[in-house]
Amino acid sequence: MLTVSDVHLSFRGVRALAGVSLTVEPGETLGIIGPNGSGKSTLFNVISGIYKPDRGRVTFLGTDVTAAEPRSIVSLGLARTYQNKRLFGSLTVLENVVVPALRTQAGSWLGDIVGRSAGRAAADAKARDCLAFVGLHDVADVQANSLAYGQQNRLEIARALALDPKLLMLDEPAAGLSPPERIEMRDLIERVKARGTAVALVEHDMRVVMQLCSRLVVLDHGEVIATGSPAEVTANPDVIAAYFGVPVDD
């Protein structure tokens, strides 16, 4: 459903992505791993339309989205979360999810001025469903800023789910979580998968990655150095070298 082909991107001469190609198939969970600075988040930013690549193409469900605006990519069914938590801090938890939930609702702001529109109520209901799905329904009226770190990760996911994504891109959803929270996060992603949503997962926690992903792509210095099943990839000498360095021969 998602095809990234030969994407190049440099920032003022610094090579961030150097010919990255990958695909995500419907219903699949693809893990994207690699050392820090290998270009994983940059790749997400290119796919979601925040960066335009210097070269290469991104297509989603048959549509070329290489030069598309983030908003139109979202409307095709591609949602994402952010590693560095870009919540609407001054809004309540519920409002954070109502914003994306309103995208598909009828009515306009002028209608809201006259009276409480049906679209608004439907968006509220949908947002509450998403919060219940990620387990944040009891903090719906709390300001997003005051959420605990682990809750913020889940709110990011609820916000993305409110867009009814066909593909959900998760950028380090387990980073900074305690071990029990990691298990909860893994179960949450498992339930997202069970809905039939394809997932692209950037994650450092290898246990989470191994348990969730059927296929892995390994990035290093902006290049794909390995692709395959978790078992194949972890046995690949290039991958070991990227993570631990090349062994020195005596």
Partner: protein, 303 residues
């Protein structure tokens, strides 16, 4: 609820106050409309504008020209004043609304100066430095608001309508998007919000409120002059909006009342009045960056 009551109480001012008090009251009511409009931009969209005085002036001049030169009935000038302010504000402001922080502020100062220069030099249309005199009193269906008490009530009504309408705007989905965009533009876009359209709409509404204030202003002194709509007015409006606070229409209305009437107590400062306003703006940013109501609330909670 509190404000409905407050507006009702203010409606009895003509029974106790003299003409002087009523004129201050009318001035405050008119000013509050422009401040609330500006507040949609500063308090909710996080964009600071120093052009509200110019857009206010566009509304006032549009009204003055239509009523005196073309003999348009006063009330019919209201939609025209609003439309003209929205047109100028949106056309000149849209390219700048994408800019962030200081760059946007600078561009609004440019807009402010352009409008003032046009008002003073396009004598054929605006009367130039002579201004436009002989504006008839505001009248609706034959009833003239020609005494200070009557005009005060009309201005108070305008202020109440603008306030309650602004509350509905803020509560609408547009208000929600506006707050989301000012929290985080990038994640608003990836949450499906049309970021640029939201910001331009904020600009348009803010300009419209300024146009409505200008409409009333034209009938207040029944005379318009370019210097009434100079950078000074923009600074005063901005001070009131910032003093009122972040995301608080209540605070903006309260600060319009406090600072708007203060502009009368500050008359003895003469030309240094603006310095006092600048000082208030500075103090607000340092002591209560989220405005008076937020600061008062924080004080109360600390007790």
């Amino acid at each position: 609820m509190v404000w409905t009551l407050a507006f009702a109480v203010f409606a009895f001012l003509p029974m106790v106050g003299g003409d002087y008090l009523l004129q201050i009251g009318a001035f405050v009511a008119i000013q509050s409309i422009a401040v609330i409009g500006l507040g949609l931009l500063t308090g909710f969209a996080g964009r600071i504008s120093l052009a509200q005085g110019a857009l206010y002036g566009i509304g006032a001049y549009t009204t003055a020209i239509l009523v005196t030169e073309l003999g348009v009935p006063p009330l019919a000038a209201l939609p025209a004043a609003i439309a003209m302010a929205v047109l100028v504000g949106t056309v000149l402001g849209s390219p700048a609304i994408r800019l962030s922080g200081l760059y946007f502020v600078m561009s609004t100062i440019g807009l402010q100066q352009i409008v003032w220069i046009v008002l003073i030099h396009w004598s054929g249309l605006t009367g130039g430095p002579q201004g436009i005199r002989g504006i008839p009193p505001l009248s609706v269906a034959g009833f003239a608001f020609d005494s200070p008490a009557r005009f005060y009530l009309a201005a108070l009504f305008g202020s109440a309508v603008s306030f309650f309408l602004a509350r509905r705007v803020v509560a609408s989905r547009f208000g929600l998007f506006l707050r989301a965009v000012s929290d985080d533009e990038l994640s608003s876009a990836t949450a499906g919000v049309h970021v640029v359209r939201t910001k331009i709409l904020a600009l348009a509404l803010s300009s419209g409120w300024a146009g409505a204030a200008g409409f009333l202003h034209a009938f207040f002194l029944r005379f318009v002059h370019p210097d009434m709509f100079s950078l000074e007015l923009s600074v005063v409006d901005l001070t009131m909006a910032m003093f009122g606070g972040y995301r608080s229409l209540d605070g903006m209305l309260l600060s319009s009342i406090l600072l708007g009437s203060a502009s009368e107590y500050l008359r003895p400062f003469g030309q240094f009045r603006l310095v006092v306003y600048g000082f208030i703006l500075l103090l607000t940013m340092m002591v209560a960056p989220r405005g008076i109501l937020a600061a008062a609330g924080a004080l109360l909670r600390r007790r």
